[in-house]
Symmetry: C2
DNA sequence: GTGAAAGCGCTAACAG
DNA sequence: CTGTTAGCGCTTTCAC
């Protein structure tokens, strides 16, 4: 900046004024400064400015996702970006991979960079470690899973309702021997989906002994293995509810390997590309991750702007999309 | 930091030493400082430090991708992250959406944040606007597409070879009326693939009049429409080469809608989840975007470390994966 | 309308 | 081993 001032023959303050579009600079000096900056290829250093500036905004937010590489997470990321872009806010995205230690590390890394706000998906048992930071003025919004034992806004899908809808759909199509294939029970969304599954089974009076609920299944490969095992068992299920996108793919892989995709019904949670082109098409409870990201970002920006808002959990509805696999009739079909 | 010093009863410099793990501090003071920092929930401000520190590293890099939401881009992102994470370097990821104006805006935004390096996928006609920045010491590596009229390292897929392999595969299976369905001709990767397509056709002596090469196709929906149009035409192709992931999906959608997936051969460029479960499975030329990201990040870090390196374009090979759709025999099959 | 001086939070350089 | 002073690049404050 000093160099620019020297080239333009003005003081650094005048350069600062011009580059920050502050008033009270003559057209002539504006022009000279701009030309000098262009010549020297100079860009303002936002951090140096932020240091002195009141409020010390960095115009950056931290976004922690399961993995930047996961389709669901990536859609949230994109949703956040569509909002932040309009405000020239930059997104620091980091994967935490369902690892509570890494979660802490990533958050700490964000705080050392003095982000103005955080949008977090978390897996730790509770997030009390964040309350001191919130007290210091950092805005925080949780996405996909609500905060535990701390008071922050959350934006989540209707996991319970979605699971109820999926389960009811299979029951209505005449299935009673259902199987739920889910992942880590530590994860809130999966607990909610399992709760919805059991809740609807209870409403229909289906005894727990008739159904299966697998909760510790590990990824796509785990789901595949479990389905093979179940199909080999004494009382194989006639319908499967896959509790998230990777489970869905694993279940499908097993069914196709067995050639059973046309006679074992299945509903997946979360939509995945190409599911409609499979034979049969795969019925899913679709989420709207892009919307989750947008809402979380909007909420965060409102908080950052200091708007007085009630603490809230925003819920995004899910949609059951019938494509064939969920409509395969069971033994009790009308 | 001053507060921490006050609480610990030491000077700020001692706090700085402890928190930066510098030597020459007694165990007792270390302990007192750490306790004070924990009490006050204090984290170092990396930017304030970087301002004074020689070299002024921000330990951040800018990553510009087509879209954080695109599976191919997201895999690059993940590859970059696996490398940067080991060095406590944070990634600012931004989508540019094949928009040259936005490309400039995003880069400028990165530079205002004084990133230590840039990993860029670009679409502008040339990137001369970056050379001044490079002269100032910012390391730059191009990923997926090479730099145009500026001398930077690049990490790219073997697009030409992959396209040759795909084309040859279809020719070998007895097809002569081929169709190439590609996107924007401004994009280097797509030009390379088209070049590979024509090159192999020429080698086989297939006249251009026998084949189709669509280059301005717009996204998945555009590809779908074009395939319908071709199938309605007087001389429909017996085999289709879809030049990237979204084209692949669009082509498949059209073929399935027509019920022609079993008699029109097809090879896609870039692998997509679930392609193996379709009927028939979809043959593709797979790229390794994760590897692209890793290599780009490694190269960038080596540059940032000041290693003297020759300017280079690293090339990642592609792999033809046979799954059925590409092996559908054509009229000239042996 | 413009600029000089002070200071944001931190570390380099040096003194003790 | 520990502290003091100066200054990184910028903006605030205030004088002209």
């Amino acid at each position: 900046m000093r160099d620019v001032a020297a080239v333009a023959g003005v003081s650094v303050k005048t350069v600062s004024r011009v580059l920050n579009a502050e008033p009270n600079v003559s057209e002539e000096l504006k022009e000279r400064v701009r030309r000098a900056a262009a010549t020297l290829n100079y860009e303002l250093n936002v951090y140096a400015g932020g240091l002195r500036r009141m409020g010390a905004r960095t115009n950056a937010i931290g976004l922690m996702l399961e993995s930047v590489d996961d389709a669901f997470s990536a859609a949230i990321h994109r949703g956040v970006e569509t909002v932040t872009r309009r405000h020239s806010i930059i997104v620091l995205a980091q994967s935490f991979e369902e690892d509570a230690d890494r979660e802490r590390t990533v958050v700490k890394e964000f705080l050392r960079r003095r982000v103005d706000g955080l949008i977090l998906t978390t897996v730790s048992r509770d997030q009390a470690y964040l309350s001191a930071e919130a007290a210091r003025g950092t805005s925080i919004v949780f996405v996909d899973r609500p905060a535990v034992s701390v008071a922050f806004d959350s934006v989540v899908s209707c996991n319970f309702d979605g699971a109820v809808a999926a389960t009811r759909h299979l029951l209505e199509h005449g299935h009673r021997r259902l199987a739920y294939v889910g992942g880590d029970h530590e994860i809130w969304t999966l607990r909610e989906r399992l709760r919805g599954y059991f809740d609807e089974l209870d409403r229909w009076g289906v005894p727990r002994s008739d159904v299966v609920a697998l909760t510790g299944v590990h990824g796509e490969e785990g789901a595949r293995t479990e389905v093979h095992r179940m199909l080999d068992g004494p009382q194989p299920p006639t319908a499967i509810f896959a509790a998230h996108n990777r489970m869905t793919v694993g279940v499908l892989r097993a069914l196709h390997e067995r050639g059973r995709q046309h006679d074992v019904a299945m509903v997946g949670f979360d939509d995945v590309q190409l599911l409609d082109l499979l034979e049969p098409g795969v019925t899913v409870v679709a989420q709207d991750p892009h919307r989750l990201g947008e809402l979380a970002a909007e909420r965060l920006l409102a908080r950052m702007a200091g708007n007085p808002l009630e603490l809230e959990t925003l819920t995004v509805p899910t949609t059951l999309i019938e494509r064939g696999s969920g409509e395969i009739p069971g033994p009790f079909a009308a």
